[in-house]
Symmetry: C2
Subunit: 355 residues, 2 copies
């Protein structure tokens, strides 16, 4: 066993496409899958999930939600870890699928709660159908994720299910804090961190750990994998916050500025409120509270304030720090550096995401 | 093993209180629990479920929903069956609790979809808090039911979970059909039966079967138990339809006439539409569609039409038939008549329910 002490520390200009080439190059163990192969496996698996034709209002929104456009990050993380420990990737597919379906269920219900119009460039389910359909289809998706999870190897089911349940309840807690924070001006950075850990990061943690569980990874590694996934997930959410203000609607497939419109306490907003002097702080809060201001103008004003406070640079720096933490955790796993290279690849591919 | 061929066929004036005395009397096997003991076990178990204090908007509605007033029919059915086969009732409690929590989750979300004001004499969650809170707390309850289920004996978990998932998806299907039928005038009795089997009955079927699974009942009995629970559940739902028009708000703890207000295709409505001549049919449909008519008047008019068509008697007759079917299925179980007496007791207690 080899503890890698000096993980690669810079993840700057690497795109997902470059990462795909990179991992194909790195992987010399013929038993390991390339990331393209894993992507293909999970895409085929999800495309192969068929739902009854009736009642159509229940199942059509589920197919619609799952059909395309997702990054499949969570199932890919699970499969990558499972593969890395020599686990049976085919047997891990239902569990990977469960995470993806559960994630999509949370998006579907979150879109109702946040009154979001678009998701992945298409109408959100509650807009395309209606509120009741979105509630009930979401419920069915949540249950369906357990239906997939149940197809995991029976001996592992109690532990996988415990992990999944803990994560799923925490995701609900995170969403509740996120909604609560909309009505508060005094959210601290610590409270924000707790919120995104619950809302977004624990599903990455669970994905990595469950991949390890499915492959029979050592107990010590399971905890490290959970921490690794969580750090990755926090970086991912801060990037999400960043892209909601500085991203491009066409690339993201959703309206930008949604967080601004809903007065979400993002990493950017909390940092700006902390950094700003009294006058700028008042101006920022007034902009958030101004529901008559058209959204493009509102985004413009908020950006100007953020830029003046150097928020974009601060944000990118913190994202880098979380990704470095993730990398440090990979280095502490019992697997050697070459075997762990797909995880470094995932870290690097996240570093430069623009959607 | 004794197949009881002549089950008791009349369930007329027996109240739940009388049943409790009856089963205490019947049960001579000292290893079996009385229904009071089982009720106490499940009530204590549910009262012992503690939720985190924060986020309060997520967990307070769950405690509020579970705290009191439920009939606990589904967990009682599970425990009764488990006990009847000499199973370990204490080990069955998490599974029984999972069914009760899941059932309450569906009520919470159904109340949003049906825009119901009251539940068990208290404000529905979406009225006491708000829509978003009701959606998210419901989600957490659904997940929490799996958290309880996971605490079942590990060796049985894969099968229990398969049973639970199938039931849970079917309940969503039933709710979707129920909503779809609101906008249709041509719902057949067969379609209605399918709908209530899914929406209401399968959870009774799953409860009985899971009770058998937990006790290691013979495979043949598991199928019969499922059928028995399903027949019982259909009778229960038709009674629910009946009580929504002919029940008493104070006893039911919810507004009566909710089905009429929402143009639900109940057993009564479908029978009336089938039985009525053209003029009465038009009058009934016009009354359903009249959204300006105050609800008490609307209920009065609908009752007058139902009474003229003898709907109450037809309804009670059909309920009796389903309860007799249930009784016939109990008679086919491998257990002897005396051992099965708690199930006859449950059938009898349902026969005269008024809430």
């Amino acid at each position: 066993m080899h503890n890698r002490k000096n993980p690669p520390g810079h993840f700057s200009r690497l795109t997902i496409e470059m990462y795909l080439c990179l991992t194909s190059y790195f992987i010399t163990d013929p038993a390991m899958h390339t990331s393209q192969q894993l992507t293909q496996l999970i895409e085929r698996y999800i495309a192969g999930l068929t739902f009854p034709e009736h009642p159509s209002h229940l199942y059509a929104p589920i197919s619609y939600t799952l059909e395309e456009g997702g990054k499949r990050l969570r199932p890919m993380l699970l499969l990558t870890v499972c593969d890395m420990y020599g686990g049976p990737v085919e047997q891990a597919l239902p569990c990977a699928g469960a995470l993806e379906v559960f994630h999509n269920f949370t998006l579907l219900h979150d879109d109702i709660m946040d009154n979001a119009e678009l998701r992945r460039g298409k109408s959100a389910v509650h807009k395309k159908w209606n509120h009741n359909t979105a509630i009930l289809s979401g419920d069915a998706m949540c249950i369906y994720s357990y239906h997939l999870l149940q197809q995991s190897p029976p001996a592992l089911l109690p532990r996988l299910m415990a992990e999944f349940n803990k994560m799923a309840l925490e995701v609900c807690e995170g969403q509740q804090y996120d909604m609560d924070f909309q009505f508060r001006e005094d959210v601290s950075m610590e409270q924000y961190n707790d919120m995104i850990r619950l809302k977004t990061a624990v599903i990455f943690g669970a994905a990595a750990k469950m991949g390890g569980l499915l492959a029979g990874a050592p107990e010590k590694d399971l905890d490290l994998l959970y921490e690794f996934g969580t750090e990755l997930g926090i970086a991912f959410q801060i990037q999400d916050d960043y892209l909601d203000t500085y991203g491009t609607s066409e690339i993201l497939g959703k309206q930008i500025g949604g967080d601004i419109e809903e007065s979400k306490k993002t990493f950017l907003a909390i940092n700006a409120l902390n950094e700003a002097g009294a006058a700028t702080r008042r101006a920022l809060l007034a902009t958030f509270a101004d529901h008559k201001l058209p959204l493009p103008h509102k985004i413009g004003r908020v950006r100007t304030i953020y830029d003046s406070l150097d928020i974009p640079r601060i944000t990118r720096k913190i994202i880098g720090r979380y990704l470095e933490n993730a990398s440090g955790l990979v280095a502490r796993l019992t697997v050697d550096e070459q075997t762990a290279s797909p995880l470094y690849g995932i870290i690097q591919s996240l570093a430069d995401r623009n959607k």
